[in-house]
Amino acid sequence: MLGAIRDKVEAGKRLDRAEGRWLLTEAPLLDLGSLAQDARFRRIPERRVTFVVDSNPNYTNVCVTDCQFCAFYRKPGDPEAYTLSVDDVLRKVEAASLGGATTVLLQGGHNPDLPLDYYLSLVRETRRRFPSVTPHFFSASEIHTMALTSGLAVPDVIARLKEAGQTTLPGGGAEVLSERVRTRIAPKKGGPGAWLEVHREAHRQGLKSTATMMYGHVEEPEDVLDHWDAIRDLQDEHGGFTAFVPWSFKPGNTLLEKWITHYKGPSAYLRMLGASRLYLDNFPHVQASWFSEGKRTGQVALHWGADDFGGTLFEENVHAAADYVNRTSVAEIVTLIRDAGFTPAQRTTTYEILREL
């Protein structure tokens, strides 16, 4: 199987599901890493690893969706529930901008009390007041919430956001795009179709987005393959995905913690990353997450197919709610990439190179 996959990688041919399954379950981890590096260097011959200077604030933790993997949300009326005003959020954007951030990845819970204008103001005002910041706002399920509360259809919501100045969408909330998994851990969030619909429509309207995957809970290899098939097929339609970003589920303070006591280790992460680089042949980039997997595993991940080191994450609250905290600086990111044997380069939200370091 290894030889057949290598031949396909060298010929630039697409892997089939059986090959993907083998990579996920049986491939020797080091051979997988070696092949993934081949695929990575075929796409990006330079020993360059990009990163983005960004911040991940949240505008609300109010949410009616009750996902079992989430430690961040609070039900409406909970004493710890909060919703920031537009001005409060903009102060966070300003702080990020002053810190040099070019991307603000803004997400929040599904708060039925927020009107569409709230979201549109956030985009419009960010564009107007902080032109150096790309508003990388609102994951797919938040856009569904906007559609529900405004009575508009999803394409119309996206059109309005685009009109306000939005050019990219974050890829969060995908979890694992399989009916079985979503029914089990996020029954109120809608099936994989809901997430895919938003990204398809965004790509159709010319927006770029990322695709994420949160693994390490109830999924089986077949579910991961469902996820990859879905996003690879969608990428064939419009080419709107910039990167694939997998990370391991953190069980702390979640409902799933009862059954899953610890996050998946570094071997599982490298396998996921390497196999995705090989399987998702139409994705320009695969991102290593120093943040979710640890800095040292992040460095090793650059040898397992990843060509991007993620962001500086000046502010982060979702992993923190699961008692998982990890911090860095631009200088440290640059050092980590160099120590791993690569040339760091700062990029934009859409992966254009801003400067080599």
Binding site: P28, L29, S34, K264, G265, S267, R296
Partner: protein
């Protein structure tokens, strides 16, 4: 997910092909081969070769021991430039444990006690002998792994006790094996540069391990890396150990020790994980006569230690319990919690965890 099939030793660096042939044939690698291992950009190929050797020896098994680390004192006459541990007598933070203090640290049921300390200017050899005898009497179930060759050498320097006599007396008192510390890096250049000329040098360190082996005392070996040493110095260190093992044959495990920056800051930061993985793999390939290569998780971090199990490591040391962990554990038994952590590290890599004793006898195979 199921256990991955064995690697096929795929190579990207053609210069590694002769190394692969030698590895397949079970032939010894040369110094030039060793330098190539530390230089090749093909980290995956290097790891596959080392993983192949490890698998040939042990399949997917990786071992660990339930152990405790005990330091009788941190008072030390030396001032090694890489050491954060040592204090002068009377200095803030200096400690001197009595035999009763040490006994209290070794809880009943401890499988292995790892005991090393500073070179105390005033403690007679007799203290150490009584310490071992007292532990052995109080905890007959505990295997005592104690005192580096550097400490044994110091007893000669300070009290003119011959190493052979010291080791014989300690063995009689209940010593089971010796740890591999104090080797640092075998290099006269670095002995001067890092201010450890007053410590056993390569010849002396190897001589003392040879004496121990002759007395039937198994030992370990270490190398402190990731500071200001060259790759040549690493390779020469490993070859020196291989040579000693050919002569005396009593080494159980080689433990590469990643230099911890701490307050000594010989370099700005700890060497990256890729260097740890490379060092583990190169050690496995060069030290063909060493039973085990260890990924010491306390220094590498759990994640890198777990990944090192794909790069030729067959041991992760042990639970290394101490009071801090006991405090963290709250309601659960500290030993049980520590074992769970080690099992996770091994299982995450898809390997089978084997609990061992200090002398590498199998205690339990954890499925």
């Amino acid at each position: 997910m199921p256990v991955a099939a064995e690697g096929r030793m795929e190579l990207r660096d053609a210069r590694l092909l002769p190394v692969r042939d030698k590895v397949r044939a079970g032939e010894r690698l040369t110094r030039e081969d060793g330098l190539l291992l530390f230089e090749t950009p093909d980290l995956h190929g290097l790891g596959s070769l080392a993983g192949h050797v490890k698998s040939r020896l042990y399949g997917d098994r990786v071992c660990f021991v339930m152990n405790r680390y005990v330091n009788p004192t941190n008072v030390c006459v030396l001032s090694c430039a890489f050491c954060d541990f040592a204090r002068k007598k009377g200095e803030a933070g200096a400690f001197e444990n009595s035999i009763e203090d040490v006994l209290a640290m070794i809880t009943p049921g401890t499988r292995e006690a790892h005991i090393v300390g500073g070179h105390h200017p005033d403690w007679p050899f007799d203290y150490y002998e009584r310490l071992i005898a007292a532990i052995h009497a109080a905890r007959p179930e505990t295997q005592i792994k104690a005192f580096t060759a550097a400490e044994v050498d110091f007893w000669w320097r300070r009290w003119r006790i011959e190493p052979r006599e010291a080791l014989e007396r300690l063995k009689t008192a209940g010593l089971h094996s010796m740890p591999g510390g104090g080797a640092e890096i075998f290099s006269p250049r670095l002995q001067k540069l890092l201010n450890f000329t007053g410590k056993a040098d390569a010849d002396r360190w190897c001589q003392i391990h040879g004496i121990a082996h002759g007395l039937g005392i198994k030992t370990n070996a270490t190398m402190l890396y990731g500071h200001v040493e060259t790759m040549e110095e690493r390779v020469d260190h490993l070859l020196r150990l291989r040579d000693q093992q050919d002569r005396s044959g009593g080494f159980l495990t080689f433990i590469p020790l990643a230099y911890q920056v701490g307050d000594t800051k010989l370099v700005p930061r700890q060497t990256p994980p890729t260097d740890d993985l490379r060092t583990i793999a190169a050690s496995r390939l060069l030290l063909d006569n060493f039973p085990h290569i260890e990924a010491y998780w306390v220094m590498l971090g759990e994640a890198t230690a777990s990944l090192a199990l794909h790069f030729g490591a067959s041991d992760v040391n042990g639970t290394v319990e101490n009071e801090k962990i006991a405090h963290m554990a709250k309601a659960e038994s500290p030993a049980g919690l520590a074992r769970e952590q080690i099992l996770r590290m091994i299982r995450d890599a898809g390997k089978t965890a084997v609990e061992r004793d200090a002398l590498y006898h199998v205690v339990h195979v954890w499925s």
